[in-house]
């Protein structure tokens, strides 16, 4: 079965003064078309739907429209991110039609959404974990004997415990044939062995290849076909170690740490992550696939080189596979640097319709720079002047820690008198300094 994984829509955001809502509407249209064509089982939106807690009216209308159109075609599961206000986004979650799941509250963590496979396969269990406020979630998730430390890792770990508990309850155990029977990530102890026939430990090894005497791929198929277990998908909004951020994400640091290790999602086949705006996958210790879908639009010039896409994930036997579907680019971004002459030359003609960040490196700021550059590039968003090398003024000794008063005074003499200080003059300065130091210890 297949589903679409997207995230970080940031409806209502602007890019250096340009309103992006129109372009976001275009993206929504494209997404709806994709869903209509591909008919996935669900669309998973992993957080940061809105750009801010109280979103602008247009963004609310756009989301309403998007959900209306998408739910006619498929199931939509939404979690709140760190930009969203969980409660506001989750308004009316219980009143929505069943095709929409707004998972924004901690209470719902550990409850699965069962997706049936139209093709008749075992389907999937989707566990949405909204972005959790560490200082509220940590006490809520603590047990009597153990208080959770206030960190993303601990909170996510505790949330995932709930997920794993639910999986246990369903009789779906740890499903990781490659790593065999070790007990990674099961805090409740107890080696619940997979409920599969004939794959129990005989003499300590559990490698199906060894046990069955067949090659690994075949063995996996056998294992996965065992009992028709559904795929386990986890949705989360976090910064996972190994991910690369860009300029446009908001910092998540709590207690000095912003990220959580990927191992926290152990037990899931696919982790549908949100928060980082560049589409990327994160290394995990196992066959688990943990992926950021990335934002559908570029929100900063650091994303200029990225290809914006949504992920089409195929679940089934074996690890999930991902296909990236590119999303429309409203206007490409580019970063250029050069002297004014270079910039005005024909070499950059092809960038005239891009959104641009321009750095002018002339040693002296040219007159009328701003106007000229704007005339040249109509879609200029950021302009800065950073002279190449260090100007003469910067060669002055920085008067900071450890600068000796004598050296500073020598600089002063040069600055004020027009020529460097002679040795005699320096000697006078030193003598006076000694007298001052001796006279008044401060």
């Amino acid at each position: 079965m297949r589903f679409v994984h997207t995230s970080d829509w940031h409806l209502g955001r602007s890019l250096h003064g340009i309103e992006l809502l129109g372009y976001q509407a275009v993206f929504i249209d494209r997404l709806v078309d994709l869903v209509r064509t591909e008919r996935p089982a669900a669309v998973l939106i992993s957080g940061d739907i809105y750009d801010r807690a109280v979103p602008p009216v247009g963004a609310v209308a756009l989301l309403e429209d998007a959900l209306a159109r998408l739910t006619e075609l498929t199931h939509v599961i939404v979690i709140s991110g760190n930009h969203d206000s969980a409660t506001r986004l989750g308004f009316g979650a219980g009143l929505m039609r069943p095709e929409v799941t707004l998972a924004t509250q901690l209470a719902g963590v550990g409850r699965a959404i069962e997706l049936a496979d139209p093709a008749g396969g075992p389907g999937a269990l989707v566990y949405p974990i909204p972005f959790l406020d560490v200082y509220e979630a940590a006490p809520a998730l603590s047990t009597e004997d153990k208080a959770l430390p206030t960190s993303h890792e601990a909170v996510l770990g505790a949330a995932m415990d709930r997920v794993r508990t639910d999986l246990e309850r369903r009789g779906l155990g740890h499903r990781d044939p490659a790593s065999g029977g070790d007990e990674t990530g099961w805090p409740d102890g107890g080696a619940v062995r997979p409920g599969g026939a004939g794959l129990g430990r005989a003499d300590g090894t559990d490698d199906p290849a060894e046990v069955l005497g067949v090659d690994a791929g075949m063995a996996k198929w056998v294992a996965s076909a065992d009992a028709g277990r559904p795929s386990v998908v986890v949705m989360a909004h976090a910064f996972v170690t190994g991910g690369v951020g860009s300029e446009s994400e908001r910092d998540l640091t709590v207690g000095g740490v912003a990220s959580a290790p990927a191992g926290v999602f152990a037990g899931a086949d696919y982790a549908a992550l949100g928060h980082l705006h560049g589409a990327q996958s994160v290394k995990t210790a196992s066959d688990q696939v943990a992926r950021y879908s990335g934002s559908p639009l570029a929100f900063s010039f650091s994303e200029a080189e990225q290809t914006k896409s949504v992920a089409m994930v195929t679940l089934g036997a074996g690890p999930p596979s991902v296909e990236l579907v590119a999303m429309p680019v409203p206007r490409p971004l580019a970063v250029i640097a050069g002297t004014l002459a270079e910039l005005e030359s024909a070499a950059h003609d092809h960038l005239v319709d891009h959104w641009l960040k321009v750095t002018v490196i002339d040693p002296v700021r040219p007159d009328d720079l701003s106007a000229r550059i704007r005339r040249r590039f109509a879609h200029l968003l950021l302009l800065e002047h950073a002279p190449e090398g260090i100007s003469a003024e910067r060669q002055l000794i920085k008067v900071t820690r450890g600068s000796s008063p004598a050296a500073v005074t020598a600089q002063f003499i040069e600055y004020a008198g027009g020529r460097t200080a002679t040795a005699a003059e320096l000697a006078e300065v030193e003598a006076a300094l000694r007298a001052v130091m001796a006279g008044a210890p401060k």
């Binding site: 801010r52 807690a53 760190n82 908001r250 910092d251 600055y415 003598a431 401060k442």
Partner: protein
């Protein structure tokens, strides 16, 4: 500086105690102080500022706002802050002044502000006891700015950016900004350096001036030593000036050597002249000596001859004098004895005169009769003494007798007196019982009067009660009667009510009751009647009781009236008091009795005494009578005078005897002395005493004569010797002529000598002048050399000092401290721009400009301008919009904190509070500002933001939540 912990109570809207641990928040680096408007967010910042500086963040706010209105009036508000500066960890606790309601009475009593400051030895303030450094507001307010390095004004521009005032630093005038930057960066050392250089330059210039003066003076002295003319002096002065101004010394050197040479020439000439004159003088001297000698010899000889002749002429006088001397020597021998004889004669004369004075003739020679008289007189004297003694004794006895008589009279009188006293006492004792009974009677009377009064009053009351009771009784009775009547009247109805159809009527017997009477509306039931009866009975008994009481009272009153009839009630108390007083004065019966017995005893004693006195009187009388018989009856006075005359006689006779004795003695000795004297003058060759006296001369005269004679002899001998000298023997010629010649030669000599002296003097002067000139010239040369050296050595110093003071040589009109500040400020601006670029999406950059603030301030360098990259123009900060001003100020504050933290001598600003201002930013800018702020997390700093903006709540997980309580007030909760 870094904050550790803040605790406060009763401040702003916080009634209870609130506590904030900053160290826990430091881990996150950034926290949000959020809450609804008016909840008390800014109060937390005010509390911090108050703890440190005793004022609110906004100085214009009223300090009374600090004390919470919700605090219990007796509870004190306090703020307690533990903070760390480079000098260590300190804790300050302040309470604001407030008005406390008085414990007693209305109104309030002002309680003054207090402050205490502790220092902790260790690195943490918890647990350990600090040593107290300041105990009152004045001391703490002095100490804390020194510790933090910032005044209150500066604190609220750097560490705390208060609401509405964050732009103060951005918009500050140059001077204020300079003050703040100087304070923060500690550029004091450069100012001191500038001062030191200036002082040294002044000293160097003074030295140069001095040495220029020396050169001038040396030149002048050379001129005067060399005795040069005016024109030459002027030339020297000009040459000296040339040296001073241009270091050109050849002219001066030439002039100096020229002067030296001239002076030398003069010296040589003077020496030659002196030599010539000396020689002439010598020759003249020789001539004068010879002439003089000749003249003097001749004169001497003449004198000697004359004198010798004189002496010889005096010879006869000398002989007479010799004889005189001899006679005087002889008379001296006899002198003593003659004098003795004279004295004895005088003594005899005196004795004779004495004798005659006493009436005795001069021819007495016997003392025996006088002695016999004397013995008689002594006897008489003794007898007179005895008589006197007897008379005295008699007088004494008589006196004793009269005294005894007096004593007896006194004793009799005393007896009489004591008898009288005893009688009086007996009388008093009798009186006492009467007085007591009188007092008792009066008391009873007073008592009765009082009772009568009370009883009368009570009677009146009882009468009233009686009246009331009667009225009540009447009423009750009437009511009862009325009730009965009405009952009866309505009896029909009552009975009719009991009628039952079919049953016969009790009155008429009819079983049918077609028209039974109805109960009247005011029908009275049996119960009502019975009630009325009860009421009546009650009233009746009450009435009876009242009547009885009244009766009793009136009889009592009548009785008492009888008792007190005829008395005047007003006077009774007074009489009673008087009687009491009299009784008290009388005293106790026992005391009286005792006194009476005492008096009787006294009578007995006195009587005994009287008897004794009488006996003594009789004794004295007898004694006196006995003595009178014995004596001769002479009085004391007579006896005394008798004694006196006897004594006088005795002494007279004694005197006479003495005189006679003396006369006899004197006559004898006188005749002896005269005989001796006569013998002496005969021996010495005199005929009589007179001749001896004439020959006497005193010692001085004798010595003189002898001297004269001796001298005379000696002179004659010497003259003779001298005349024998060959030199004189050969001297011839007229002394007068010779003397004239000698005089002429002497005059010539004098002249020659004068000449010699003059030239010698001139020579000496010339030598000295030449020497001095030489020295002056040398000195001048040295001075010039020194002057040149000094000037050269001081040139670099002078230049450096002038530059450091921003003098005319300074190309940029910037003095040293300002330059250093400018450079630091450059750093600050650069650091600020690093943040400002992203916050403003590259639009704004801060620039530090050199333009003058106004034409009067010469030294500048700290003006700020904002360059707008969109237009390319630089603008004054005042032209920014509200939101722009906010983030520019924030960037500047962060830049300042960055640079200061890196500065060794500066104050580490590790804590920063930004109170509001985020609401003026739009969402995009807010995101940009936020992204800058979160980057501060890892700088080891704590940044506290106060805001109600929703996006910040989303973005910053560490929070201090300020929540209003339902009953009023607020509380803090830390979420970290």
């Amino acid at each position: 500086m870094r904050l550790h912990k803040l605790t406060f109570a009763g401040v702003g809207p916080f009634a209870g105690e609130q506590s904030l641990d900053f160290l826990g928040l430091t881990r996150s680096g950034l926290f949000l102080l959020e809450g609804p408007t008016g909840a008390g967010k800014s109060t937390v910042i005010d509390a911090i500022v108050f703890a440190l500086y005793g004022r609110l963040a906004d100085d214009s706010a009223d300090l009374h706002r600090l004390r919470s209105d919700r605090a219990d009036p007796s509870q004190e508000s306090f703020v307690d802050l533990t903070f760390e500066v480079s000098a260590g960890v300190y804790r300050v606790r302040r309470t604001p002044a407030y008005d406390r309601p008085k414990v007693r009475g209305q109104g309030t009593r002002p309680v003054p502000a207090t402050a205490r400051l502790w220092r902790f030895a260790g690195s943490s303030g918890a647990g350990s006891e600090g040593e107290i450094i300041a105990t009152n507001v004045v001391e703490a307010s002095r100490e804390i700015p020194l510790l933090t390095g910032l005044s209150a004004e500066q604190f609220v521009q750097t560490v705390v950016l208060p609401q509405g005032k964050f732009a103060d630093f951005l918009r500050a005038k140059n001077d204020q900004r300079r003050g703040l930057l100087q304070q923060i960066f500690g550029t004091g050392i450069y100012k001191r350096l500038g001062d030191e250089l200036r002082a040294r330059r002044l000293a160097a210039e003074r030295r140069i001036e001095q040495e220029a003066g020396d050169v001038q003076r040396a030149a002048d002295s050379l001129v005067s030593e060399a005795g040069l003319s005016e024109a030459a002096a002027e030339a020297f002065a000009r040459a000296a000036a040339e040296v001073i101004s241009r270091a050109e010394r050849t002219t001066l050197d030439d002039l100096a050597s020229q002067a030296c040479t001239e002076v030398d020439h003069a010296r040589a000439a003077a020496e030659a002249a002196a030599e010539t004159a000396a020689k002439a003088s010598q020759r003249s001297a020789a001539l004068a000596t010879a002439a003089e000698q000749a003249a003097s010899h001749a004169a001497t000889r003449q004198t000697l001859d004359n004198r010798l002749a004189q002496l010889k002429a005096e010879a006869p006088t000398r002989q007479v004098q010799a004889a005189q001397l001899d006679a005087a020597r002889r008379a001296l021998g006899a002198k003593g004895l003659i004098e003795a004889a004279d004295r004895a004669g005088l003594a005899r004369l005196a004795a004779g005169q004495a004798l005659q004075g006493l009436g005795l003739p001069l021819d007495v020679s016997e003392t025996a009769p006088f002695e016999a008289c004397l013995n008689q007189a002594i006897e008489q004297q003794a007898k007179a003494k005895e008589r006197l003694a007897a008379a005295k004794q008699l007088a004494k006895a008589r006196q004793a007798e009269s005294a005894a008589h007096q004593a007896k009279v006194t004793a009799e009188a005393e007896v009489a007196a004591s008898q009288a006293a005893a009688t009086a006492l007996a009388r008093l004792t009798q009186e006492q019982p009467h007085l007591m009974s009188e007092v008792a009677r009066l008391e009873r009377l007073a008592e009765a009067l009082k009772l009568h009064q009370n009883a009368t009053a009570q009677l009146a009351k009882a009468k009233l009660t009686l009246g009331e009771a009667k009225t009540a009784y009447d009423t009750a009775r009437q009511a009862e009667t009325a009730a009965r009547d009405r009952r009866l009247a309505g009896m029909a109805g009552e009975m009719a009510a009991e009628l039952v159809n079919g049953e016969p009527c009790p009155v008429c017997g009819s079983p049918e009751h077609p028209n039974p009477a109805g109960l009247a509306l005011d029908h009275v039931t049996l119960e009502d009647v019975q009630q009325a009866e009860q009421v009546r009975l009650t009233a009746e008994s009450a009435y009876e009781r009242a009547a009885t009481a009244h009766q009793k009272l009136s009889s009592a009153v009548a009785e008492l009236a009888g008792k007190t009839a005829g008395t005047e009630p007003d006077k009774v108390p007074q009489e009673l008091a008087n009687a009491r007083i009299n009784l008290r004065d009388l005293g106790e019966p026992e005391a009286l009795n005792a006194a009476a017995s005492q008096a009787n005893a006294l009578i007995g004693t006195r009587r005994a005494e009287l008897e004794g006195a009488t006996t003594r009187l009789a004794q004295a009388h007898d004694k006196a009578v006995a003595l009178a018989e014995q004596s001769s009856g002479e009085t004391v006075d007579a006896a005394t005078s008798g004694l006196k005359s006897a004594e006088t006689e005795t002494s007279q006779i004694q005197a006479k005897l003495q005189a006679v004795r003396q006369w006899i003695e004197a006559v004898r000795s006188a005749s002896q002395a005269e005989a001796a004297a006569e013998e002496a003058w005969h021996q010495n060759g005199f005929e009589s005493a007179d001749t001896v006296r004439q020959a006497l001369l005193n010692q001085t005269a004798m010595d003189q004569l002898e001297a004269v004679l001796t001298a005379d002899q000696a002179e004659i001998r010497s003259i003779t010797d001298r005349l024998a000298d060959p030199a004189l023997a050969g001297a011839e010629g007229d002394p007068a002529e010779l003397a004239a010649v000698a005089k002429l030669t002497a005059q010539a000599l004098t002249a020659a000598r004068e000449q010699e002296q003059a030239t010698a003097g001139a020579s000496v002067l010339a030598q000295a002048a030449a020497k001095r000139t030489g020295r002056a010239s040398q000195l001048l040369s040295d001075c010039v050399t020194r002057f040149n050296a000094t000037k050269e050595a001081a040139t670099p110093l002078i230049r450096v000092a002038e530059l450091a003071a921003g003098g005319s040589a300074n190309l940029h009109d910037v003095d040293l401290p300002t330059y250093v500040l400018m450079r630091r400020f450059d750093d600050v601006v650069a650091a600020a721009n690093e943040r400002l670029g992203p916050m403003s999406s590259g639009r704004y950059q801060l620039e530090h400009s050199d333009t003058k603030e106004n034409s009067r301030s010469r030294l500048t360098g700290l003006a700020l301008r904002v360059r707008d990259n969109q237009t390319g123009e630089a603008r004054a900060p005042r032209t920014l919009s509200g939101g722009e001003t906010f983030y520019v100020s924030l960037a500047l504050a962060l830049g300042l904190a960055d640079v200061v933290t890196a500065e060794a001598g500066g104050i580490a600003l590790e804590t920063l509070f930004v109170d509001e201002g985020f609401g003026s930013l739009d969402n995009e800018v807010l995101e940009a500002v936020l992204s800058q702020l979160v980057r501060l997390r890892d700088g080891g700093r704590v940044i506290g933001l106060v805001s109600h903006v929703e996006a910040l709540k989303q973005a910053i997980p560490e929070r201090v939540e300020v929540r209003p309580l339902p009953e009023g007030g607020s509380k803090l909760k830390v979420r970290a």
